[in-house]
Amino acid sequence: MTTQAHVFVVVVTLLAVAFVIRLVRRRQLRAKYAMLWVAVCAVIAFMAAVPSVPNRLARGVGIFYQPAAFLFAAVVFLFLVVVHFSYELSRLEERSQVLAQEVALLRRALEERRAEDDGVSAPPGT
């Protein structure tokens, strides 16, 4: 890569970090995800700033075309992130199910209570 390309990558990464921090400040992003993306940005910026390190790492695992090593690492990492997100999504779905059921039970209890206050027995069903 040319020097310009390295500078470009570093600038884009810094912008990404600024965006993530902005989201945290507005409380639109949980800190655990912010930490993850800031760490990713730090690694990318480091590799762009010191290209000899990713080169040596790639040779170390027997890959002599450095971009291939980078893309492979990126795919593995993103795969892990997606697996984690599907785990979180499953948990959220389970929780929203429980929440909706809870609301249904509460609504029924409230209707029964209201009917009692009106002096009639609760309508069956509804």
């Binding site: 921090i21 945290v24 400040r25």
Partner: protein, 253 residues
């Protein structure tokens, strides 16, 4: 968000907000002592226990002891449970509230001091374990050094000195309750973040020394490397949020 009050509470009444997760062992003693101490001091209060998805008899035991029980359908963690309590206090119109531990490490005798600080004009008051020599609170080495880093960070960012940034023994007035009912943080060690949010929102936060006891039941929650991660995350959040200007809409005077 504030719903019309079904039973308005008298202005002097204090909401004692007690998050509880599987605390059936300690809770009966804690609630009984809380009641007898506050009644002896003539402090009108309601104990509000938030059952944070406990798997034991926490909710039933709290109700038997005369507390108002809010039962969450699943475990939200301490921050989520506390925010539930703050929302309840705001919706019922409590003017003052105290956050109190279900595990017996807080001494109800100290509540009066927190309330006096609120009456003296504080929006939020923190009961510090390290404020004076009465306290002999022991913490591990990772925790101690991390607490020191946080203390210095909070001091630099808020311009204020807090000897105990993570204490969960706190008092709040209406203003703070309204803020925390909306934005109380939910992650581990939420108390530090909450302190920073309060300072960044322009609230008057003070600290008073309190004596604390060691836990009656339960274990300190986290292992070392997790603790280190959480302190790092906290440092990140504190740095990100504390430099944020208080928005005028944030706190209604």
């Amino acid at each position: 968000m504030t719903t019309p009050l079904p039973h308005p509470v008298p202005p002097s009444k204090v909401a004692v907000i007690i998050p509880a997760f599987n605390e059936e062992g300690a809770l009966p003693g804690v609630l009984a002592e809380l009641r007898s101490v506050l009644e002896a001091r003539g402090i009108d209060h309601d104990a509000i226990v938030i059952d944070d998805g406990s798997e034991d008899a926490t909710a039933a035991i709290a109700a038997d002891a005369g507390a108002t029980v809010l039962r969450l359908p699943y475990n939200l963690g301490i921050g989520g449970a506390l925010r539930t309590g703050f929302r309840y206090a705001v919706s019922r119109g409590y003017r003052r509230a105290v956050q109190f531990d279900a595990d017996g490490q807080h001494d109800p005798e100290e509540i009066e001091g927190l309330l006096e600080a609120l009456d003296a004009g504080a929006d939020m008051v923190v009961g510090s374990r390290f404020g004076d020599e009465r306290s002999t609170y022991e913490v591990g080495s990772v925790r101690r050094s991390a607490m020191r880093v946080l203390r210095v960070t909070v001091r630099l960012l808020s311009g204020r000195v807090f000897t105990d940034t993570s204490s969960g023994f706190r008092g709040f007035n209406e203003r703070t309750l309204e803020l925390f009912a909306r934005v109380y943080p939910v992650d581990y060690m939420e108390s530090v973040e909450a302190l920073v949010i309060a300072c960044a929102s322009g609230l008057r936060v003070t600290e008073i020394p309190v004596a604390m006891r060691t836990r009656q039941h339960g274990l300190p929650t986290t292992r070392r490397w997790r603790l280190a991660y959480h302190y790092l995350r906290l440092l990140f959040v504190v740095l990100a949020t504390a430099t944020r200007r208080p928005r005028p809409t944030e706190v209604r005077p």
